[in-house]
Amino acid sequence: MLPNDRGYRFSGVESSRKVHDLRAELTSEKKDPRQQRKKIAMKKVVANMTMGNDMSPLFQEVIACMSIPDLEVKKMVYLFLINYARARAEIANLAVNGFEDDLNDPNPLVRAMAIRTMGYIYVERVIESLIDPLRHCLRDRDPYVRKTAAMAVLKLSMFDRSLVEEERFLDMLKDLLADGNPSVVANAVAALTEISERSPHIKLKLNMKIANKLITALNECNEWGQIYILESLMYVVPQDSSDAETIIERIMPRLQHGNSGVVLVSVKVISYMMNYVSQVETLEPILRKLSPPLVTLLTAGPEVQYITLRNIQLLLQRWPTILQNQLRAFFCKYDDPIYVKLAKLEVILSLTTEDNARVVLTELTEYATEIDIDFVRKAVRSIGRIAIKIELAADRCVRALLDLIQTKVNYVVQEAIVVIRDIFRKYPNRYESIIGTLCENLGSLDESEARAAMIWIIGQYADRIDNSDEVLGTFLESFLDDTAEVQLALLTAIVKLFIMRPTAGQDLVPKVLKWATEDVDSPDIRDRGFIYWRLLSTDPELARTIVLSDKPEITAEGERLDMPLLEELLLQIGTLSSIYRKPPSTFIPFAKKRVLGV
C-alpha cells in the first residue's frame, strides 16, 4: 500500500512538506488504540525512503515509535535505523535504550532482531552497547538468537577488527562450531571464514577432526548452511592422500543437491582435494562421478548454465577426461541466451576429438547461419580452430569454410579468411588451390584483421598467384589510410613478393618502404621498414633466408590458460573469478591470493 503511486518524485520543497506532514502523523495525539495510524505513517516513511527521499529528519519521531508494542512497526523502525543511523550518528544514540529493552525481551525473535539490527549500525555508541549483550546472545538458550549473534560478530569485525580479537569473540565463534544446532554451526563457519579472508594476520586452518565434524553437520543443515560449511573445507590442508579421499567420498553425495550453489561448491572442494590424491587410478572414478551433475546443471536457469559452462571449461583443461561422450549435451538450442551459446561453443571446441569432429563440424556450420553476429563469428572461428587442432578434420573444415564464403555474408567471409590464414600457416602447401576463391572476395574485406590475413596469404604465396603484384598494388593504394595491422602485413607481403618475383615487385617495394619509413607514425612499422630496406640493399640472399624463413608452428591451444593461473582459478570454482578467468585479487581489493598447498 504505497501512499501515492503516482506522486513518486518530490522536489525539495515538496519533500520537506512531506517530512512535515509525516512528522505530524507520527506525533499525532489523536486516539490510536491499535497503533493503526502510526503504522500507516511508518509505511509512508519506508515508501519514501525506498524512493530515495531523505527521511532522516524524522529520526526522533521514528525512534519514539520503538516503544510501540507491535512487531511490524518495530521492523520498520529498525529498517529506518539501518538506513539512516550512520548519517545521523548523534541521534542513533537515542536508539540504544530501545535496543536494550529488546535485547531482554522474552521473545527470541525480538532478541535476535535487536542483535541483528544493532550489528548493522556502525556507530561507536551503538557498537559499544552491543558488546556485552552479544556475549550473552552467543550463549543464548535459543538457537535462532545464537545464529544471529554469530553473524553479528562478523558485522562487528568489519566495523573494528581489533575489537573482535580483544573481546575474545573469535574464541566464542570457534566454540559455536561444536554447537548442537546446524544453523548455528553454519553461521559460525561463515563468519569465521570471512573474518579470516579479510584479516591480514588471521588464517583459518581446519584439521581433519574439525573437517569431519563439519561434514557430519552437513546432513542437518539447510542448503545455504551447506554452502558455508563446504566453503570452509577449502581451508583444510589434507596431510595425506587418504585425508583427501575421505573428504571427497563424504561430500560426493552433495553433487545430487537441487541447489546449484551446493553442487558447484562441492565440485570446487572435490577438485581441490583431487590435488592431494596420490593414485591416478583413484581419480578416474571421481572424475566419472563429476560429469553427470555438471551436465544436469545445464537444465537450470540460464544464469546458472552460464556459470557452469565457464567452469566446465576450466575443469576440462585440468582434467580432460571428464565429460567424455557428453558432447551433444552442449549443442545450442535456438533460443538459448547469447551468453549461454557463446560459452557452449567453447566447451564444444574443447570436447572435439578425431572421432566426433564430423558431428561438431556439421553443428558449427549450422550455427554459422544464425543471426547473432558474435555467435556466428565465433562459430566460424571455431571451425578454423578445429582444423588446426585435428589434422584429420582439416580437409572437411576447409570445405566448410569455403561453403560459408559462398554465402557472401560479409562478416562470415571476413572471419573465414582470418581462420584460413591460420590453416595455411599450420598446413603449408596443402590448400593453395582455394586461393582463387578467396581472391574473389577481396572487395568485401573492410575489417583490418581480415585485410591483413588476406594480404598475408597473398604475400606468402606471391610466387603462385599470377597477379599477386596487381592485388598487392591495389591494397597499397590505400596504405596510408589503413590501420597499423594492415600496414605491417602489407609491408612484409610486398617484400616477400619482391624476393620471390623481383620483377613483379620492383615497382611496389620502393613505394612501400618510403611510406613505411617516412609517412607512418608507428615505430614498429618504421623500424621494420628500415630493417627490410637495409637487408635488401646490403645482402639480398640474407634477406631471403630471413623473410621467407619457416614460421614457428601454431596450435589451437591459444586460449589455454597457463598452469599457475589455471590452478589458482580451480580454487575459485563457481565464483565470479572463475567466470572472468581472473584471480580475485585483480578485481577485489582485499582478496587474499590463494595458491595450492598453502
Binding site: T50, G52, T308, Y580
Partner: protein, 457 residues
C-alpha cells in the same frame, strides 16, 4: 556475500532497495540502471556485470528486474539461486510477483529481505517456515497463515533453525493424501536430414503432500540401477505402465516390483529434504516432505528416449520469390493416448508476404500465418496416438534488391501428452511411515511436454 538487493520495474525505477553492507551506497542502484537496464544493447550479454569491484547479478521476471550486488568474489551460483528463491517466495506469498505486487507489499518484502539475508548471507528461505512469522494483513490469507499467527516464538525459532526447517511438526489432516506428478520435458534437436542430434528428457517429480505429523517417506522408481541390484525379479502387482483412461492412478500400498522396463537415469537432483547420503549408498530416496507442493526431484535421462512426435519437413526455396513447405507429423505413442494443446511453429523468412496453407488429416486443426513472429503457427487441439497429420504451404516472398540471408530457424513443437513418459519412467511405490500409523492414499500422474523440441529445416 551480498551487499545489496534491488528490485526495479521495467523502466528501471527502484521499487525495493535494501543494503546489507557498508561497502555500497544506495546510489549503486543507479549504476546498474544506467549500465544494464537502460543500456542501448538490445540483448543482455551477461547475467553478471562487474564494474570496478562491484558486481551486479540480475534475473528478470515479468516486468521486474531483481538485482543482487556483491563486492567480493561471490559464489555466483549461490547468488543466482538466492534470486530464484526470492522470486519463488514472492510468487508464493503474493500469487503473482510483478510491479503491482511489489508496490502493494513493500513492507512485507522488506521484512522478508531482513529475514532471508543476514549481512548478505542467505539464511532460511523455506516459505512454510517464513509464513509462520513474516506476515502482514495484505498477504492473501491462506489457511496456514491464519492458523499459525499465534504460534509460540520458541517453536518458530526451533523450526527456523532445526534439521527439518522445511516442515512444521504440528500438521494434521483428516485424510492423509499425497499426489505425485511426474512431469517430463523432452528436448530434441533433429537435423534437417532427420538425424537425432540430441534427445534427452528432463524430468521433474512434483509432490503435493497432505500428510499429518512427521511422515517418513520412501519413494521408488523403475531405476535401472536399483532393479538390477535387486535382481529385477518380483513381478506382478505394483506399478504398471502408465495407461490410458483416468487422470491419475492410485498407487498400491505395497508396491511390488513391476517386471518390464527399467530406466537408466543419467543423473538426478533432490529437494533438500531428501537424505543424500542414503541415496549415495543404496539409491534409496527417503525424506520427510514439506507440507503442500514441492519439487521432490529432478532427473535427466539420455538413453532410449521415446520421442512422442516424428516430424518430416521438406522446405524448398523456389527461386527468390517462393518457398514450398511440406511438414508431416506422426505421433509415436499408444493410440489410446492423445496430445493436447499442440502448436507447431514453422518459421518463414522475414520478407514473406503471403502464405497459402493447407492441413490434412482427421482433426488436423488450423494453421495461420503470424507475420509478427515470422512463422506459420499450426494448432492442433487433440493429436491422437499413432496418427499422421500434414501441412503443405506455399509462401510468397517480396522481391528484395539485396539477397536477404535467411537463417532458417528450426520448426518447434509444443504439446503435452498425459499418462506418457518419454523416458519410460514409472513410480513403483511411495511408502509413508508415521508414528501414529495412519493410512494414506497416494496418487500418481504422468505428463510429457515439449521442452525445446526443435527440428531444423
Amino acid at each position: 556475500m551480498l551487499s545489496a538487493v534491488f528490485i526495479y520495474n521495467q523502466k528501471g525505477e527502484v521499487l525495493i532497495s535494501r543494503l546489507y553492507r557498508h561497502d555500497v551506497k544506495r546510489s549503486v542502484a543507479d549504476v546498474f540502471r544506467v549500465h544494464v537496464i537502460s543500456s542501448p544493447a538490445a540483448v543482455v550479454r551477461s547475467p553478471v556485470t562487474t564494474l570496478g569491484s562491484t558486481s551486479f547479478h540480475h534475473i528478470r521476471y515479468d516486468n521486474l528486474w531483481l538485482c543482487a550486488v556483491t563486492k567480493n568474489n561471490a559464489s555466483a551460483a549461490m547468488v543466482f539461486e538466492f534470486l530464484y528463491r526470492l522470486l519463488g517466495l514472492g510468487v508464493s506469498y503474493f500469487g503473482r510477483f510483478d510491479e503491482e505486487a511489489v508496490k502493494n507489499n513493500f513492507v512485507l518484502i522488506y521484512e522478508l529481505l531482513d529475514e532471508v539475508l543476514d549481512f548478505g548471507y542467505p539464511q532460511n528461505m523455506e516459505v512454510d517456515t517464513l509464513k509462520l512469522y513474516v506476515t502482514t494483513e495484505s498477504v492473501r490469507s491462506s489457511r496456514s497463515v491464519a492458523a499459525d499467527a499465534a504460534a509460540a516464538p520458541q517453536s518458530i525459532t526451533m523450526q527456523a533453525t532445526g534439521a527439518t526447517t522445511w516442515r512444521r511438526n504440528d500438521i494434521a489432516y483428516k485424510k492423509n493424501e499425497a499426489f505425485v506428478d511426474v512431469i517430463e520435458s523432452v528436448n530434441l534437436i533433429l537435423s534437417a536430414k532427420g538425424t537425432v542430434l540430441r534427445a534427452d528428457v528432463q524430468g521433474q517429480i512434483v509432490m503435493r503432500s497432505f500428510l499429518s505429523g512427521m511422515p517418513e517417506c520412501k519413494f521408488g522408481l523403475n531405476d535401472k540401477l536399483v532393479l538390477e541390484r535387486d535382481g529385477g525379479g518380483g513381478g506382478g502387482g505394483g506399478a504398471s505402465a502408465p495407461a490410458a483412461g483416468g487422470m491419475g492412478r492410485r498407487l498400491g500400498g505395497t508396491g511390488g516390483v513391476g517386471d518390464g522396463e527399467s530406466v537408466e537415469i543419467a543423473d538426478c537432483q533432490f529437494h533438500q529434504c531428501v537424505r543424500l547420503g542414503r541415496f549415495d549408498t543404496d539409491r534409496t530416496i527417503s525424506f520427510i516432505p514439506p507440507d503442500g507442493e514441492f519439487e521432490l526431484m529432478r532427473y535427466r535421462t539420455t538413453e532410449n528416449v521415446n520421442l512422442p512426435f516424428k516430424v518430416l519437413p521438406v522446405v524448398r526455396e523456389l527461386g527468390k520469390t517462393r518457398i514450398e513447405y511440406e511438414v508431416l507429423i506422426k505421433s509415436n505413442f499408444s493410440a489410446k493416448l492423445s496430445a493436447t494443446n499442440m502448436a507447431v511453429a514453422i518459421p518463414t523468412p522475414p520478407n514473406a508476404t503471403k502464405c497459402r496453407i493447407k492441413v490434412t488429416g482427421a482433426g488436423a486443426g488450423k494453421a495461420k500465418y503470424h507475420p509478427e513472429d515470422n512463422a506459420m503457427v499450426w494448432r492442433i487441439a487433440r493429436f491422437q496416438g499413432l496418427q499422421e497429420l500434414s501441412l503443405t504451404a506455399v509462401v510468397d516472398l517480396a522481391p528484395t534488391t539485396k539477397p536477404v540471408p535467411w537463417s532458417r530457424p528450426p520448426i518447434s513443437l509444443n504439446f503435452q501428452v498425459l499418462m506418457f513418459t518419454a523416458s519410460g519412467l514409472l513410480v513403483r511405490f511411495l511408502k509413508v511411515f508415521e508414528k501414529s500409523n495412519y493410512q494414506s492414499v497416494k496418487w500418481v500422474r504422468y505428463m510429457t511436454k515439449a521442452g525445446s523440441y526443435e527440428i531444423r529445416i
